[in-house]
């Protein structure tokens, strides 16, 4: 018998509804938040709360690590020069010691970018609600959970109450079918999606990614997709848990074991959207048509394939978009009609919560092998565990032999507050997620690409189709 349409639910709705404590007349729901991740820039939340006489409701459901401010040349707190960065990292550590929540400090082999270590440690599980004071918290949705970025006030609200008021967003499904060409990766898919729906295309929506091309991706690739969902305006980028998800989660330190695992798995199996579930918006993307992609403007929606040219704002009919394009071309110092593969670059950054997992590093290493970089290149693993795995596989030797710098884990040149910055006017091929003006340093020019494309740019000094360099 078919489930009546009115009772069928999307993956998102199933998790959302299960966490509703009360609903206001206005429609806002008070959601129970299962887990919160905290990074160094939010360390003051604890003292601010305590100053108003409040307590932390669930220290056991709180997991912290310093990632934004840590220099990638530092191995421990005292390696950080005196000043704000050190105070920030020390501040988080102090709060962890005082309150007693889990904290992966810089000397802990599990330390890393908060969105890399959450899934790595099994803190992120299908079906839960998870927040962090960082917009890229959408990353965790790749495991089939409801994860989203929040502001500082909401961070304190969750610390004090373990809840958050949320208006249920509309559901959008983006189905990516077809087979992705060889040498392409999840980064190319998500850039193509953002180009298609626009930087605000997902505003007010929770996006579910589906389709054969998404299923074929590893969990790491799926995280790259979910991660950049916020660049399309949506806070949630969720993917139904499947066998790959369960295999990924199984045996991780915070994942359930024994009977609890069986119980959890039985629940997780019920999560995928019902066949008759209704989405407010449906988008279809053909994976086979996607090329290695490069952004050229100051919004991730401004991107084209490697064989393309810089578009001409004059051919854009929407006046506001045209003005945006013109301002971006001035800032980026680019002319319409320039072939992408003629654009020379000054620096390369491989890392960030978008592309710093082992699979990303393997893809970059594949291009670097036996070649040398011609521009300064920084490779920053997403966590201590990613770093040690890369070293076990000998990837570090490939990077170092190619002339790239192999660093300690952290956000590094994605948010560029740890000292890893571009100089004014420098052009960077970057595996990060934002190409905004000044993002990688005042006057910096960022082009977002996949790890393979970043490596190809590093060894040729310009944007190059990484498939031409594959063996």
């Amino acid at each position: 018998m078919n489930t009546p349409r009115s009772h069928s639910k999307t993956l998102f709705e199933k998790i959302f509804d299960r966490h509703v404590i009360v609903t206001r007349e206005s429609g806002d729901a008070l959601l129970f938040i299962d887990r919160q991740l905290i990074h160094d820039l939010h360390y003051r939340a604890f003292e601010e709360l305590q100053a108003t006489g409040r307590t932390i409701r669930y220290p056991d459901q709180l997991f912290a690590t310093p990632d934004h401010s840590v220099p990638t040349t530092a191995k421990k707190l005292t390696d950080i020069p005196q000043g704000e960065m050190r105070d920030t990292v020390a501040g988080l550590q102090g709060a962890a010691e005082r309150i007693g929540f889990t904290h992966f400090d810089m000397t802990d082999p599990r330390h890393g970018i908060v969105h890399v270590i959450g899934p790595e440690q099994g803190i992120t599980l299908p079906g839960l609600t998870l927040v962090c004071g960082d917009s890229h918290t959408s990353t965790h949705g790749a495991l089939g959970c409801l994860s989203f970025g929040i502001g500082s006030t909401e961070v304190k609200h969750v610390l004090a109450t373990q809840t958050l008021w949320q208006r249920k967003p509309r559901n959008m499904r983006i189905t990516v079918d077809g087979t992705l060409g060889p040498g392409l990766s999840a980064k190319d898919i998500i850039l193509a999606i953002i180009r298609h729906i626009g930087a605000a295309g997902g505003t007010g929506y929770a996006i579910e990614y589906a389709g054969s091309a998404i299923r074929q991706l590893s969990i790491e690739g799926r995280m790259t997709i979910s991660n950049m969902t916020i660049e399309a305006g949506a806070r949630f980028g969720i993917i139904a848990p499947d066998d790959k998800t369960l295999e990924y989660v199984y045996g991780r330190p915070h994942a359930p074991t024994g009977e609890k695992w069986e119980e959890a798995m039985a629940y997780w199996r019920t999560l995928p959207s019902d066949d008759t579930a209704v989405f407010a918006k449906e988008i279809n993307i053909n994976a086979a048509a996607i090329e290695p992609t490069v952004t050229w403007g100051n919004s991730p929606q401004f991107c084209v394939g490697i064989s393309d040219v810089i578009p001409d704002p004059a051919s854009e009919t929407d006046l506001a978009t045209r003005a945006n394009m013109e301002s971006a071309l001035t800032y980026m110092d680019l002319l319409p009609g320039t072939p992408i593969n003629k654009i020379e670059i000054d620096r390369v950054f491989i890392g960030s919560c978008t592309n710093s997992r082992i699979e990303d590093l393997r893809q970059a290493a594949e291009v670097f092998k036996g070649r040398c970089v011609v521009v300064p290149t920084l490779v920053v693993p997403g966590s201590g565990l990613v770093k040690s795995e890369a070293e076990r596989e000998g990837l570090d030797r490939i990077f170092i032999d190619a002339g790239a710098q192999w660093r300690e884990p952290g956000c590094s040149m994605c948010v560029a507050i740890n000292g890893d910055v571009l100089l004014p006017g420098q052009r960077c091929a970057s595996t990060s997620n934002r190409n905004f003006q000044g993002r990688q340093g005042m006057g910096s020019r960022t082009h977002l690409v996949s790890p393979a494309m970043a490596a190809a740019a590093a060894v040729t000094g310009r944007f190059t189709d990484s498939r031409q360099l594959s063996r």
């Binding site: 966490h19 404590i21 009360v22 007349e25 206005s26 806002d28 008070l30 129970f32 299962d34 887990r35 820039l41 003051r44 409040r54 056991d60 459901q61 934004h68 401010s69 704000e84 105070d87 920030t88 599980l125 839960l128 960082d134 917009s135 970025g149 929040i150 502001g151 500082s152 006030t153 909401e154 609200h157 004090a160 109450t161 373990q162 809840t163 008021w165 605000a200 505003t203 916020i230 305006g233 806070r235 359930p256 074991t257 609890k260 119980e263 959890a264 629940y267 919004s299 978009t321 003005a323 945006n324 948010v415 560029a416 507050i417 934002r434 905004f436 003006q437 000044g438 993002r439 005042m442």
Partner: protein
């Protein structure tokens, strides 16, 4: 939180879409221990010609004469007018703190990024959505009228132009109630303490694997 009163103020027009939070307040200010005083760094990289750092004296920094905020006629602006997807990018609440500290009380745009939109309400800043054709008219009007002011009446949900034209706007009822009264979210939520405790008890039974001690 400070209660929101009716605003009548000069309008600062920034004719761009996708104004991101990195542009509103650059990253170097996120390390600052302070939560106030960011007004001097609002749109720092557009506003000044040099690179700013926290704790710096801003009064003698070189000003970018081509950035609209630096035009004399917009001094003391309390209303900011922009295009679509305002506040996209990073979740940094510093963006809202910088706007508030500068004196901005209302932002009018055709759409806002979700996280920024939420952050506004936590800090007494009203993000107000108007249709694109109305935004077009407002941009045009400001161009021709130095000292152009808008009155924003939250109670009646109207903005009133100098010639008396009214444009109504929507706001979710509870958000309005909190803004008008300056209510703190945590206090309101803790009125549901009993509901939360009851939910927790049943949630732990339904999803026990989330609450296990780590071996």
């Amino acid at each position: 939180m400070e209660a929101f009163k009716t605003v009548k103020g000069v309008v600062l027009p920034i004719d761009r879409s996708n104004i991101d939070t990195d542009a509103i307040i650059p990253k170097q200010y996120l390390k600052s221990v302070a939560r106030s005083g960011f007004g001097a760094n609002l749109f720092d990289e557009w506003r000044y010609l040099d690179h700013g750092e926290p704790g710096q004296e801003h009064s003698n920094r070189p000003i970018n004469p081509n950035f609209v905020l630096n035009e004399k006629r917009y001094t003391g602006a309390e209303v900011l007018l922009a295009r679509s997807n305002f506040g996209c990018g990073s979740s940094r609440e510093h963006a809202v703190w910088a706007l508030r500290d500068y004196g901005v009380k209302v932002i009018i745009a055709s759409s806002f990024a979700d996280i920024f939109f939420n952050n506004c309400f936590k800090n007494g800043l009203l993000p107000l959505v108007l249709p694109e054709d109305v935004i077009d008219v407002l941009f045009d009007s400001i161009k021709d009228e130095p000292g152009y002011m808008l009155e924003v009446d939250l109670e009646s949900q109207n903005i009133i132009t100098p010639d008396g034209t009214q444009h109504s706007f929507d706001i979710e009822r509870f958000r309005k109630y909190c803004l008008v009264n300056g209510f703190d979210d945590i206090d309101l939520t803790l009125q549901h303490k009993k509901d939360i405790s009851e939910f927790e008890a049943s949630h732990k039974q339904r999803m026990p694997w989330l609450f296990e001690d780590i071996s």
